[in-house]
Structure formats: structure tokens, C-alpha cells
């Protein structure tokens, strides 16, 4: 790889599978070639990832299946590849040989649960039945002798939807799972993956016969501004057109509309939780059923703009491209299904570019400018709250004070919801983002960098429209139908 397009080698491997599947889908020979793909990716007989090439290929064939939509019996868009799971140890906190049997016993003092005991050599032991996994002992040990063995997937899954099956492989509780994809990104063996619908996207593009049968609209999430860092955003837009889209529209324009509508809903109801993040919405519905009424009834920005596009063009097909695996689940919902035809991630977009040998760095820059600053900053945590406050200001609603809390990641969401439920915090608006940092931390991102937030803000500043009202001004055109 000349240019580093991904954070991890796991992503790169997934990308190679997607790219090969896409190549054959474009060529129309996928059914004949599908069984060859593992060997194309792992040729020869020297294993580089697992015990032998045969296991590598066996896992790859599962990845190919996921690239082609995965198990249709299972509704969850996130799936475990059991044979790829390395069955990581999960013993919790353990004292290692580095324990020197010191006199201080800081570990004992700090443990609130009395879980530490000492043998004749003064070496520490942890009583598993008492340990609450708080990690305090590990932090205070001057020799760093207490380590933590928790599976990365389980650490990543803050809502505790991952456990172990009878063969010690990871298992997802599909009822609990919010499809955020945190485990997908965190598993170092790539044993959990989101299902891909690239074949649906390719079909839509092919069947449009160059946008003559119907038009294919790509709707891109504003977090795209922190992705494809090796090229210019305008080149990505041209690349999407080269792939076969008729045009590209910013989901951020849908966000502008949502900000206007959601702010009014907030004033009406007096307390609201945001509806943009499908992971968060699902979490609230499952875990805080009493608050269901307070989830904003607005569509998400993706669905909102898709609905609008279909109002202007009835036969339109819509491909959403974003950072989010949960969006793949969102479009299964009855209220979203009619508007968005397929969801792709940025990872998948990269694979599609390369399946067509489109080097976006060589392309001219296209234009992408539909939304305002506020619609664009939805991509990062806090942006939605800023937009709601702004929307009220622009509508001259000044007798309502927004007391918002922006929750960065599902853990913060959980805490805010519990507190609100018990009336322990004085807030009337909860912005919930399941991923850390907001959408820019999504599992389908190519990269997850420290600079991503400032990239989004910069992109926001570049918007032609400076106000939400300005951006949604164009919608007047459909009002008097």
C-alpha cells in the first residue's frame, strides 16, 4: 500500500475481499468466480495470518459471504465469524509474575471490595468472586504487575451485548446489539464484521443503465470530510460520479432540516432525545422504554434528505454513504425503508473505487455544497446541540432555553439517560452519539484520527450557506405542490 488508507490491517483485508467481490460483480461473473476469491487474496502455501493457508482461506470464504450480504436468516447487520475468533483470554484482572511481594500493598488498600489476599511470599492474589473489575489495583501497582484480560470485543461493547458461546467464540446478543460496530473496529482478528450490501449498490447502478432508466443519487454523510485524506473531497465527489451516480447530495442538508424541525419539537414536548444516531435510538427504545415518547419523531438526516430527493424525483434510487454500520439496520425500519435503497460505508466506497480502478487523486474536483455549517457539524459530537440552539435563534424562538447535554459515546449516553430518568440532571435535550467522537468515530470510517473533529469544523466553515434557514431555503420549492 503506497498510501495508508486504513487504520488497521484487518480493515485492509476486509477491503481486499470487498474489492474482489465488487470486481466480479461489475464483470458479471461473480457466481462462477466466488469460490476462487480466497485463493486470489491468499495465494501460495505460506501462511501470514493464521496457522495455515487453508484456515486463512476458510475464514476468507466467510468474509466473502459477508461481503455478499451475509446470513440472510440473521437480521442483525453485525455478525461473528466464529472460526476467525481467536478465543482471547477473558480472565479479568490477574496478578502476574512481576508482583514483587512488596510491603506497601497499595493494591489491597485501594480495593473497596476486599478482593486482594497475600501468600507467604507477600505476593498478591485476586479473589475473582469479590473482584468487580474496577481496575483500581492495576492503576496503583508500582510494578504494573496487575494486568487485565478482557476480550477487545467485550471491552468495545459498552452495552454488554457480547459474550462467549460454548466453543469460547464471541457471541452477539442480537436483541441487545445496537449495531454500532464498535466490536467490528476493535477486534484485532477481524472476527466480527458488518454485512455488506455492495452487491445491491452495484445492481442499482448497473440497472440504471447510466442513469437513463432512473437516477441514482449518492447521499454522503458530513463525516466524509475527515476521510479520504489522501485526496480532495471534490475528487471523492467526482469518483462517486464515475462509479455511476447521477449526482451527490449532502446528508447534512437533511441535518439542517432536522435541526429546524427538531428544535420546534423540543419546544413543544419540553424534553427530547435526538433521533439522528440509529444506535442511540435503538438503545433508548430497548433500555428506556419510558422515554420512547421523548425520542424525536423526526427522521434522521439521511432519511430526511432521501425523502426529499424522492419527492423531487419519484423514480430516484438512493445510496447512502457514511461512517455507520447502524445505518444499515436503520434502513430496515418501516419508516425509513421507502426512502433509502442501500447503505454503504466509507470502507466500502474505497473498495468500490478500486474495483473500478478509479484513482481519485487523478480526478478533477467536483462540487459538493448543499448544507449549512450547522448541518455539516452534525458529524461530530456536540454539533447537533449547537444546531438546535441556532435553529431556535433563527426562528426567533427566544422564550425557550435549551439545556442540552452532548453524549460522546454510548457509555455517556447511558449515564445521561439514567440520570434523566431519575431526575438527577437538569437537561431538556439529550444529544446521543453511540460512537466516540460522534459519527467521525463510526466503525465504517477508513481512519479514526485525532484531527477528524477539526476537519469537520473546517468543512462546516466552507459551506456556502452560513445559516440553517439559508440552507433549507431551497425547500420552499416543493412546498406549494
Amino acid at each position: 500500500m503506497k498510501i495508508r488508507k486504513f487504520d488497521t490491517k484487518v480493515q485492509h483485508l476486509k477491503y481486499k475481499v470487498l474489492r474482489e467481490v465488487a470486481r466480479h460483480a461489475w464483470a458479471g461473473d461473480l457466481l462462477e468466480k466466488v469460490t476462487d476469491i480466497p485463493e486470489i487474496i491468499v495465494p501460495g502455501n505460506t501462511a501470514t495470518m493464521r496457522c495455515c493457508v487453508y484456515k486463512e482461506r476458510a475464514i476468507l470464504s466467510k468474509r466473502v459471504k459477508l461481503a455478499m450480504g451475509g446470513d440472510t436468516e440473521n437480521k442483525n447487520v453485525i455478525e461473528v465469524i466464529s472460526i476467525a475468533c481467536d478465543e482471547c483470554p477473558m480472565g479479568g484482572y490477574e496478578v502476574t509474575n512481576a508482583c514483587r511481594g512488596c510491603l506497601a500493598h497499595r493494591c489491597e488498600d485501594v480495593c473497596k471490595f476486599g478482593a486482594l489476599t497475600f501468600d507467604e511470599q507477600q505476593k498478591a492474589h485476586i479473589d475473582k468472586s469479590k473482584c468487580k473489575e474496577c481496575g483500581a489495583c492495576s492503576k496503583v501497582c508500582p510494578y504494573s504487575a496487575i494486568t487485565h484480560h478482557k476480550r477487545p470485543c467485550q471491552s468495545a461493547c459498552k452495552i454488554k451485548a457480547i459474550s462467549m458461546d460454548e466453543n469460547k467464540a464471541a457471541k452477539i446478543d442480537d436483541e441487545k446489539c445496537i449495531s454500532c460496530g464498535a466490536c467490528v473496529y476493535q477486534c484485532p482478528f477481524g472476527a466480527i464484521s458488518d454485512k455488506s450490501y455492495i452487491l445491491d449498490a452495484i445492481d442499482i447502478i448497473k440497472n440504471s443503465e447510466n442513469n437513463t432508466k432512473y437516477k441514482v443519487y449518492a447521499v454522503v454523510a458530513p463525516s466524509i470530510s475527515s476521510q479520504f485524506t489522501y485526496a480532495k473531497l471534490g475528487q471523492v465527489v467526482t469518483g462517486i460520479k464515475k462509479l455511476g451516480a447521477y449526482t451527490t447530495v449532502e446528508a447534512a442538508l437533511g441535518a439542517d432540516m432536522v435541526a429546524m424541525e427538531e428544535s420546534k419539537e423540543l419546544v413543544e414536548k419540553g424534553f427530547l432525545t435526538s433521533s439522528c444516531c440509529p444506535g442511540f435510538v435503538r438503545y433508548v427504545e430497548k433500555n428506556f422504554p419510558d422515554m420512547k415518547e421523548n425520542i424525536s419523531h423526526n427522521l434522521s438526516p439521511m432519511a430526511r434528505i432521501a425523502k426529499y430527493i424522492k419527492e423531487t424525483d419519484e423514480s430516484a434510487k438512493i445510496i447512502f454513504i457514511g461512517p455507520c454500520t447502524a445505518k444499515k439496520a436503520e434502513i430496515q425500519l418501516d419508516k425509513v425503508k421507502p426512502y433509502v435503497d442501500v447503505v454503504l460505508t466509507f470502507e466500502e466506497l474505497q473498495a468500490l473505487f478500486d474495483s473500478r480502478d478509479i484513482d481519485i487523486t487523478t480526478l478533477e474536483e467536483g462540487v459538493l455544497d448543499n448544507a449549512s455549517y450547522y448541518g455539516r457539524i452534525f458529524a461530530r459530537c456536540g454539533g447537533l446541540s449547537d444546531a438546535v440552539v441556532e435553529a431556535l435563534k433563527e426562528q426567533n424562538i427566544d422564550d425557550f432555553e435549551v439545556k442540552g447535554i452532548s453524549c460522546d459515546g454510548i457509555e455517556e449516553c447511558k449515564i445521561a439517560l439514567i440520570k434523566k430518568n431519575k431526575n438527577l440532571i437538569d437537561v431538556n435535550f439529550i444529544e446521543g452519539m453511540a460512537c466516540n467522537g460522534g459519527c467521525i468515530g463510526g466503525a465504517g470510517c477508513l481512519t479514526h484520527g485525532a484531527k477528524d473533529k477539526s476537519e469537520v469544523d473546517k468543512y462546516g466553515m466552507q459551506a456556502y450557506e452560513k445559516t440553517i434557514k439559508g440552507a433549507v431555503g431551497v425547500f420552499k420549492s416543493n412546498e406549494n405542490k
Binding site: 443519487y217 447521477y246 449526482t247 451527490t248 447530495v249 449532502e250 430527493i309 423531487t312 424525483d313 467536483g366 462540487v367 459538493l368 455544497d369 448543499n370 456556502y464 450557506e465 439559508g470 431555503g473 431551497v474 425547500f475 420552499k476 420549492s477 416543493n478 406549494n480 405542490k481
Partner: protein
């Protein structure tokens, strides 16, 4: 009966050339001239002629409208042709 359909491009290229101004002004002019029951105004994302923006079509016929010349356009192409 509505017999005139005006479609204004609100895609990216036309947007930065001021399609919002065109939308808003045409909307105003339709109201001022009491043509609400004769004219339908619609938006469209891209009409494929980005360099000619702001793109406007009246009953499928294509026009290129400058955001500062909406009034002239309206008089010539809308008012003159309305039944």
C-alpha cells in the same frame, strides 16, 4: 388547472451560483402575480448542465438564469406564456 411547471436546480453547482435566491424570488413573483393556482414550482438535484447554472426548466424547456436577473426571466418566460 396548473399548467406550468417550473423546476429549479438546487444541486451543488447551482446552489453556489445562487439557486436559493432564484427559488425565493420566483416564489415571491408567483405570489405577487397570483399565479399560485397556475404554476407549480419544484426543486431538482442536478439537471446535468452544471456550467449553465442556475438551471431552470419550464415545462421541460431549459433556461439558464442568473440570480440577479430573475425578474426579467420571469416576465419574459413565465408571465408572457401563462394562459
Amino acid at each position: 388547472m396548473k399548467n406550468m411547471k417550473i423546476t429549479i436546480c438546487i444541486g451543488s453547482s447551482c446552489h453556489i451560483k445562487g439557486s436559493r435566491v432564484v427559488v425565493e424570488r420566483i416564489q415571491e413573483l408567483v405570489e405577487e402575480n397570483n399565479l399560485g393556482d397556475k404554476v407549480t414550482i419544484k426543486g431538482a438535484f442536478c439537471m446535468g448542465k452544471c456550467v449553465e447554472g442556475v438551471c431552470v426548466t419550464i415545462n421541460e424547456k431549459h433556461y439558464s438564469v442568473n440570480k440577479d436577473e430573475v425578474d426579467e426571466f420571469f416576465e419574459k418566460e413565465v408571465l408572457a406564456n401563462i394562459e
